[in-house]
Structures are given as C-alpha cells and as structure tokens.
Amino acid sequence: MTTAPPAKLKRAVGQGAPLGPAAVLLLVFLFGPILWSVYAAFTNASLSGAGAAASHFVGLANFKKAFAADGFYNSVVLTLVFTLISAIIGQNALGLMLALWMRKSLRFVRALGGAVVIGAWVLPEVVAGYLWYAFLAKDGSLNHVLSGLGLGTQDWLFSLPIVAVSIANIWRGTAFSMLVYSAALSDIPLEIEEAAQVDGASGWRRLVSITLPMIRRSIMTNLMLITLQTLSVFGLIFTMTRGGPGTKSQTLPLYMYEQAFSFGNLGYGTAIAIMLLLVGAVFSLIYLRALDVDTR
C-alpha cells in the first residue's frame, strides 16, 4: 500500500476538518451510550441495592433469565402480534388502499383525505395515545355513542388491549405508508395501465399484475420502515394501557421499561433492548432476502 500524496492528504484533512466537532459529539453522545448499554446488558447494574453500588460482569445471566421468563415470551408474542396487525397488515394495506383511492379521486377530495390522514401522523405519540384512551375508556366517547344507539358498551382496553393499541397504531401510522405509496404510484406511467385496459384487463387484474409488481420495491422498503418503527412503539401503548391490564399489552419496549425502571434491573432491561434489536434485525433480513430474490 502506498501512502497518499501529501497534496491529497492535505485536501482530505481540509475537507474533513469541519466534520470534526460533529463526529466527536456523535461519538461521545450517541455511540458512547450505545456501547455502555451493550456492556450493561452483561452486568447486574441496577437502580438500587447491591447492583447500584458496584455492578459487575455477569456473563450471559441476563439473557438466560429472559429465556426462562414467561413474561419475556409473552412480550415477544405480543410484539409480533402488534407488529403484524398494526404495521404489516393494518398500516400497509390501508395505506396502499388510500393511495390507490386518492390517485383516482378529485383533487379536492384528495387534499381533504390527505389532510385528515396526515393530521393523525402529525400528532405527538402521547396525544394520539390519550385521544384513543379517551375514545375507548369506560366513560369514553365510543361508549357514549354506542349506548346512545342502544348497542351496549365495549371494554376493549381491558378485554382486548393488544387489539385496541393496534387499532390506535394503525390510525396513527397509516399516513406514512400512504405517502410512500402515493409517491410510488405516481411513478407508474399511465400508458401501461391504459394499454392493459385496452387489452381488457379488469381493475383487480391490473392491480395484481401491473401496479403491485411495479411498486414492489416500495412495498418492501415501506414494510421495512414501518416494521422497525412499530417494534419500538412505546409512548402510544404506555399512554393507553401502560402495558396492562396485567401484561396483556406489554410489548418488548414496555417490558424493557418496566424491568429497567419500575423494577430497577438496568442490566436486564438493556439485555431486553438488545434482543429487541435482534428481532428488528431478523425482520430486516427477511425483507432484504425478499428484495434480493426479487431483483435477481
């Protein structure tokens, strides 16, 4: 390997220098804490008690504890259910439908529809969570409407909490998928669809054989993004149910929070965080695989 010519090196230093402070800040305030949390996952760090005075290395004990805990499995299952219902099915399908519908509709309808959907997206997570809590709670607006119509009342926050928070997450997150798909659909040349129409393809046929294949890369990208986003949803669920009742809506981020901060087991909590990262990585690999097969 030859050394870079002095002039080139000088230029590299000159160009790189302005990035220096930002790089240092990133290292100190982003990568530092991340490295610390990876380390903490292998210690008995805690908020109080012996682990707070002098935490020490415990090897894989935190991970072993997780794999022996019913609460952990419960959270993994709920996280998968939540991601499947609210992101992969809900936000994704609804977003696509809205995008298709808006492509065909009048400009005024499109603007109005877009504003409503994006309005939900713009709301802070906690506000959205509180709105849904106020809607679904025992004395909430939905029950007032239902009993006004003589239809009895619901108690989903208690009986079906994971479904309740999933619906809220669909409501809140659909705008993102809709925007991604709107952009993708606008790239499809109208001529292709018209040609298919002339050949006598039905609307459904055109969707399955032309539109979807043409936006498949956007579908994968969108799935990837909303999956990762949904895996780490915390504020919405915390506001609506706090993970309860019991542990019936305790997804991994809520389990992690409860273990780390309510129960003070920081080491165990960070171990859960790392496993959540792994769940995200598994999803990423699956989508990545699908894209690879697709482009070959």
Partner: protein
C-alpha cells in the same frame, strides 16, 4: 439503495433504544451542583392533591432560614406516583451533580438504597443528638442496616385496617359498629352491599402494579399475615415460597374481583386509585369498605386536600381480621418513612441540621398530627394535641399491639414488585392464583437464590 435504507433503519432503531435506556441511567452530567454553596436540597414525594408534607416542610424551611442566615433550603417535590418516585429518587442519587442532600425514604426501600451506597450513616450525628433518646426501639431499628449503622430518622409509623362508610352500611342493613371476625365476614358484608346498595363499590383491596407498595402492603400482606404463613421465615433467615397462605391470599383477591365486589378493573389499575378513594369515593358515599392505612383521615383534616369535618361520624374503622379468626384475631402491618442524607451530599452537616430542625419536639408533633401518623417518639406520644388527634381513630391506634413489620431486607423491594405482578395477574384474571404463585416462587428464587428460600 435498498440496503442503505434498511441499514439506516436498523441503526435508527438501535440508536433510539440505546439512548432511551442510557439517557436516564448513565451517570448524567448537568443539573446544578450543590458543592460549596450553602443550599440544602430536600426531596420528597408529592402526588395528587395532598399537600400535608409540602406545607409542613415550607413552615420548617422558613424557620430554618431565619435561624441560619445565608443558608437556603430548596424543596424538591417529586411529583410522581409511588413507584415512579423511588425510580426518580434513585436516578437522582446516582450522581453528585443531581443528588438532593436530604431525602425522604420509605423504610421498606431504605436497606436497598443503603446497599447501593446512596445514603450516609448518621451514627456520629445521632450520638450527639439528645432527642434520639426519645425514639422507641423499633423506630431506632427501622433504618438500621446489616452493618449495624443507622441511616435514617423515622418521623412516624402507621397501621392498616378497614375503613367503612356508615351511611352505606345503614342502607345495606349492616351494623354501625362493625368488626368482622374472619375473611368470610368481610366478604359477606361486601356481598350484602352489592345486593342492597346498587351503584356503590362494596370493597377495595389494592391489587395493581400501578398502586405500587400499597398493593404489596395494604393489599397482599394484610391478607397473607392473617394466615399462618409469612413472606420471610426469620428462624431460618429464608424467603418463603409455595405456602398455602400465599395461595389463599391470592384466592381472596380472585374472589373479590371475580364477584365484582371491587372497583372496575380500569379504576383498579389506575395509579390514582388511592387518592380517588380517600378524596372522592369515601366522602361521597360511593365505596363501602376500604382496606387502607391509618393515615387516610389526614385527607379530611382542615389542612388536608379534602376537608370533611363530618368524617369522624360517617367513617367507621375496624381491624382487619385473620383468615379464620386465628389468634390474635386481627392483623396490621406497619411501615413508615425516614429522613436520610445522600452519601454524595456536599453539605452533610447542614443537611443534618435541617433534619434535626424537622425533628424538634414541636415540629415532630405537628407533623404527626397533620399527617395522622402514629408517633415513634415518647415526647410526641405524650403531646396533648397528638393524643387528642389520635383518640379519633382508636382502632388504628389499638392494633399497634398486634402490628407486624415487613421483612425490609435489601431484596424486599424486588420481591415486593413480584407480589404486585402476581396480584395484578390474578386481579385481571390473566392467571389463576396457583399460576401466579408459581411465577412468584420462580422469581423469588431468581432474586435471592434457591438456597435462600424455604417452603416453611
């Protein structure tokens, strides 16, 4: 391009998670340092409308600042529910830049925080403090750690029992002078209220994770300690697992929630339930019986959040019975809070001076009356205003004779969390008492080690 998007997605998730946990848990920088200057920061819990402690501290602060020119007291009310208070306090105590000087610590948590080296031993101060001789022995032991040193000055204790509303009892055809002998008697009364007084919640037993230590102590332990079993076997120094009493206590919870004798699950899992009961439901004749603490009537004093002068004629008190009336027939648990000094405080001497100001005979008696505490000092116990206030709740004062204490070892807070998990899972019907007990037993073995447990 796709790969890059995916890569950055993963990174973003990683960053979010990593930061989420570490931002709060690392030794954080920032915050104002107290080193060198003469400001004492005093941290205490404040939740809901209750201002008894805030008013008391504000009074002592004025007094202290007048007597010590140039010294300042900064009151730091941590506005949080019980569990969140402990979390926040622990986070503050971790770093010299955020630590308060004087902290208000619950006796069940103090051993855990002592083990975490958060607190300073007070022995050198106590040795020179004449008032320490006034404290009864159990109180002196309340904040004494395994190392033999004392880390906190208790400001009172409490007992637990049943509060009942005589208006509702009259409507349900129950006696105004009620004293159940067994758990079944309590259930019978609650069922009678449910049948005869519609729209009223018959009974509350705390059973949610959100209620924190109230669920463990007022709820679960008040039941468990009325059975032949306990949490900890003092003889073998081991934690008890798999006991029948534990199962029966959870069974009682299942019964009362299963028969809907209790607040609705949504109310029962609300962190604010305790305040709702004392400030609204009891004064408004909306709940029949509340298994709660002796301090509840501080809510209704003229200094409390919901002044209710008629309380002493409307509210009745009864001791909580043992399961089947086993001797001594009634059960109570006692806790209490202490004033302690942070190990990282730069002004420990001044902090001590403030604590001793809080604990002059006059101030200690004032707080005992306003906070409806049970005195732990002989001079306060003989104070006429205290005696008068105390005579209004004879039952809660009487159960001092039978009251018991939590096994407040360093592991207790973690075990208490597991009790709350078991209670909520039974309350919501997610698990049977048997299943919840198995989960608890496994968790306890994980916390203290299998060799430190016994089946009694």
């Amino acid at each position: 391009m796709q790969r890059r998007i995916i890569g950055s997605g993963c990174l973003a998730l990683g960053l979010g998670l990593g930061l989420g946990l570490t931002a709060c848990s690392g030794s954080s920088s920032g915050g104002n340092t107290s080193g060198g200057n003469a400001t004492i920061k005093v941290a205490y819990q404040q939740f809901g409308e209750g201002k008894v402690m805030a008013n008391f501290l504000a009074g002592v602060k004025t007094e202290f600042e007048k007597a010590n020119p140039g010294k300042k007291i900064q009151l730091l009310p941590l506005v949080a529910s019980e569990n969140d208070y402990y979390t926040k306090l622990a986070l503050m105590l971790r770093s010299p830049s955020t630590t308060p000087d004087v902290v208000y610590e619950d006796t069940f948590l103090i051993n855990s925080d002592i083990k975490a080296s958060y607190l300073k031993p007070l022995d050198s101060y106590l040795a020179k403090w004449p008032a320490w001789g006034q404290f009864v022995d159990t109180a002196k032991g309340a904040a004494k750690a395994a190392d033999g040193k004392t880390y906190g000055v208790p400001d009172g204790t409490d007992t637990r029992g049943l509060w009942y509303n005589k208006h509702i009892f009259a409507k349900a055809g129950l006696p105004a002078n009620w004293q159940p002998k067994t758990w079944v008697d309590v259930l019978t009364a609650a069922r009678q209220i449910k049948a005869k007084v519609p729209g009223v919640t018959p009974l509350n037993i705390y059973a949610s994770k959100a209620a924190g230590e109230a669920t463990s102590m007022q709820g679960f332990e008040m039941l468990l300690y009325g059975t032949p079993n306990q949490l900890y076997d003092a003889k073998s120094s081991k934690w008890v697992v798999g006991s029948k009493g534990f199962l029966d206590a959870l069974g009682m919870v299942k019964t009362v929630f299963g028969e809907k004798l209790t607040p609705s699950p949504q109310d029962a899992t609300d962190a604010n339930l305790g305040n709702t009961i004392s400030q609204q439901w009891l004064p408004q004749d909306k709940i029949g019986i509340a298994l709660d603490g002796s301090w509840v009537n501080n809510t209704w004093q003229s200094t409390g959040p919901k002044p209710w002068p008629q309380w002493s004629s409307v509210m009745g008190e009864a001791a909580m019975p043992t399961q089947n009336g086993e001797a001594p027939g009634k059960v109570s648990l006692s806790g209490g809070w202490t004033w302690a000094i942070s190990n990282k405080s730069a002004n420990a001497d001044l902090a001590w001076k403030f604590i001793s100001e809080l604990q002059t005979e006059k101030n200690a008696a004032n707080y005992a009356v306003a906070g409806t505490q049970i005195a732990v000092r002989k001079d306060v116990a003989a104070d006429p205003t205290y005696l008068k206030a105390n005579s209004e709740t004879p039952v809660f004062t009487d159960v001092v004779k039978v009251t018991q204490y939590r096994p407040a070892y360093p592991e207790y807070p973690q075990i208490s969390n597991q009790i709350q998990v078991a209670m909520e899972s039974v309350m919501t019907g997610q698990q049977t008492p048997k299943q919840a007990q198995q989960v608890y037993d496994e968790a306890v073995k994980g916390i203290v080690g299998p060799d430190k447990t016994t089946t009694q």
